[in-house]
């Protein structure tokens, strides 16, 4: 009857969202007077999850699961849930996990609530708070099904250390061939750079930058800060930047600690998509730009003058605080 959490890993290393999901699972387990069990697939150092309150890890090591496959991964998590007789399953909000979540939901005939931002409001009835209308509102959602799946938003509940000891048990799920009817042919992924999904800081540029040739300073600023780069919708529509960088209501959501908007006026759709970021900074020539109403800090000024100065000052700051 433990709470099961799927702890996602990449190249054997747990992702930040795995620690967040584990922290959340521990909190739910505590509220329900039970313990948190993790299911990990091809991860090293499974015992490290004990730092986040996990007391048991079902550790899968399987060559066929080297590359992510939504159907197969969902099936493995489902088998783990069955083995543990888990009624509550905690997932993260990565692209891969949001891909497998509905498959798992159907497999277990569960109630699935994604985008959950805080610990359950109550466990009987089971009620959670989630974002709706692309962050323009919140809903308090009750789950009435026997099996409940909760998708925890990135950087919302957070990673919370609760040191315990964990037993690691190897788990050997059965993998039928019909789980592998979609095949990964090629993965094109930026390595060694923060992604919008898990970066602590995101630096984003808008049409105010006048053209793709001016993105050098955005990239440099991002590099100094160890940040991911993003852009507004018009910039991606104009083809100045790849679609994958588009953040906002119809693009990617941003839930970083710091979001720096440069030359972005702040259309309502953009603001909705970035509103989960904890601290927002805007740099814009127009003091009437709507973004100033949504930001914590602002500079009214020309990005072409402000950003190079900011890069320089940040380099000094980093050197002093290294």
């Amino acid at each position: 009857m433990s709470v099961l959490v799927y702890t996602e890993s990449e190249n054997g290393k747990f992702k930040k969202n795995a620690h967040e999901a584990a922290s959340y699972a521990y909190e739910v387990a505590k509220q329900m007077g039970t313990t948190a069990t993790a299911i990990s697939i091809n991860a090293n150092e499974a015992e490290s999850l004990a730092d986040y309150g996990v007391s048991k890890v079902l550790n899968v090591s399987n060559e066929r699961l080297k590359t992510f496959n939504a159907k197969a991964f969902a099936n493995v998590i489902g088998q783990a849930a069955q083995k543990e007789n888990a009624k509550i399953i905690i997932l993260s909000s990565s692209a891969d996990t949001k891909f497998l979540a509905p498959i798992l939901t159907a497999q277990l005939k569960a109630g699935y609530v994604p985008n959950v931002v805080s610990a359950p409001e109550s466990t009987s009835p089971f009620k959670v708070k989630r974002t709706v209308f692309s962050n323009k509102g919140f809903a308090f959602t009750e789950i009435s099904s026997e099996i409940k799946i909760i998708g925890v938003s990135n950087n919302a509940f957070g990673s919370i250390e609760n040191k315990t000891t964990a037993t690691v048990e190897s788990f050997d799920p059965s993998l039928a061939d019909d789980l592998f009817t979609t095949k990964s042919i090629e993965i094109d992924k930026v390595v060694g750079k923060a992604t919008i999904a898990d970066a602590d800081i995101v630096v984003s540029g808008g049409r105010g930058l006048k053209g793709p040739e001016n993105w050098g300073m955005i990239e440099e600023l991002a590099e100094v800060l160890g940040a991911a780069t993003a852009c507004s919708k018009p910039v991606s529509d104009l083809g100045w930047r790849p679609h994958g960088e588009h953040v906002g209501q119809t693009g990617k959501p941003v839930a970083s600690n710091l979001y720096i908007a440069i030359g972005i006026s702040g259309a309502i759709q953009h603001l909705a998509g970035v509103s989960s970021s904890k601290v927002k900074v805007v740099i814009n020539t127009d003091p009437e730009a709507p973004f100033f109403k949504a930001a914590d800090y602002g500079i009214v000024g020309d990005a072409f003058e402000v950003v190079p100065k900011l890069i320089e000052k940040l380099k000094e700051f980093k050197a002093q605080n290294a």
């Binding site: 939504a70 159907k71 692209a95 891969d96 891909f99 979540a101 509905p102 498959i103 939901t105 159907a106 109630g111 699935y112 994604p114 974002t131 709706v132 209308f133 692309s134 962050n135 323009k136 509102g137 809903a139 308090f140 959602t141 009750e142 789950i143 009435s144 099904s145 009817t181 095949k183 990964s184 090629e186 993965i187 992924k189 930026v190 919008i196 919708k233 529509d237 679609h243 994958g244 209501q249 119809t250 693009g251 600690n257 710091l258 259309a267 309502i268 759709q269 509103s275 900074v281 100033f292 109403k293 949504a294 914590d296 800090y297 500079i299 000024g301 900011l310 000052k313 940040l314 700051f317």
Partner: protein, 248 residues
């Protein structure tokens, strides 16, 4: 090839969101409803399959009669036939079960739905539908090519993209990238006139489960005043971010 495009009827992206009835309902007052943007990219890709590969395109939605202008728009854009399940789309599982019934009866080769609706952001309908219908599934799909029974899709992953090969029957959770923003179509007068003649079948819902219930809503807390920093005083901004906000 027979394609079903699943449409969600959602508030326009510029809508201000309010709640009513003691914050238990979304306030539709003054709200303009549109085809969910993620679905519209899918619909436009379906039109491409219709024009280039001779596909038949049906659209389906789960909603009350008030959703019909949205369905008519899809017919005006070029869908051949529409189905409306006459029910309030209470939660994702319920909607997926209704659509699975349509898929079962319609023998579709390809089902295109948006990766999520921009109102309740559940992101579960395409995946649950695929599972219930025993079809392959690719989510956050930004490119789709079909040749015979084979499909090649590109999906967006965190920090990049992945190319996937699979076979029909297939469900995709689509989004921007399936077609470009500039490829989206505005119905012309001829399309609107023709849409009036096209079949819009209304079917009653099957009995289905509902696992979740939104019991109350809340608006985000109002934002405090922005702290303005002089453009010549970058040190102050860094100081604030370091010592006050503690984010660098």
């Amino acid at each position: 090839m027979k394609i079903l495009v699943c449409l969600s009827n959602v508030p326009d992206t510029t809508s201000k969101i309010n709640f009513t009835d003691g914050d238990t309902k979304f306030d539709t007052n003054g709200v303009q409803f549109v085809i969910n943007p993620n679905d519209e990219f899918g619909l436009t890709r379906a039109m491409w399959f219709k024009e280039k590969q001779g596909a038949t395109v049906h659209v389906a939605t789960v909603g009350e009669a008030s959703t019909e202008p949205t369905i008519r728009k899809a017919l005006a854009i070029g869908a051949d036939e529409a189905i409306r399940v006459n029910a309030i789309p209470t939660d994702g599982y319920f909607v997926a079960e209704q659509l699975a019934e349509i898929v079962k009866n319609g023998e579709y080769d390809l089902v295109i739905a948006g990766r999520e609706s921009i109102d309740f952001n559940g992101g579960m309908v395409p995946g649950i539908l695929a599972s219930l219908s025993g079809m392959n599934f690719v989510n956050t799909c930004i490119s789709l090519e079909i040749e015979g029974n084979n499909a090649t899709a590109i999906r967006e992953i965190d920090g990049g993209k992945e190319k996937i090969s699979t076979t029909l029957p297939l469900v995709i959770g689509g989004q921007k990238g399936l077609v470009a923003e500039s490829d989206l179509r505005i119905p012309n007068m001829r399309g609107i006139m023709m849409a009036r003649q096209k079949k819009l079948n209304v079917v009653e819902p099957i009995s289905a489960s509902k696992a979740t219930d939104d019991v109350k809503f809340e608006k985000p807390a109002p934002k405090g005043q922005v702290k303005l920093v002089d453009a010549d005083n970058i040190d102050e901004l860094i100081n604030l971010l370091h010592n006050e906000a503690k984010v660098i």
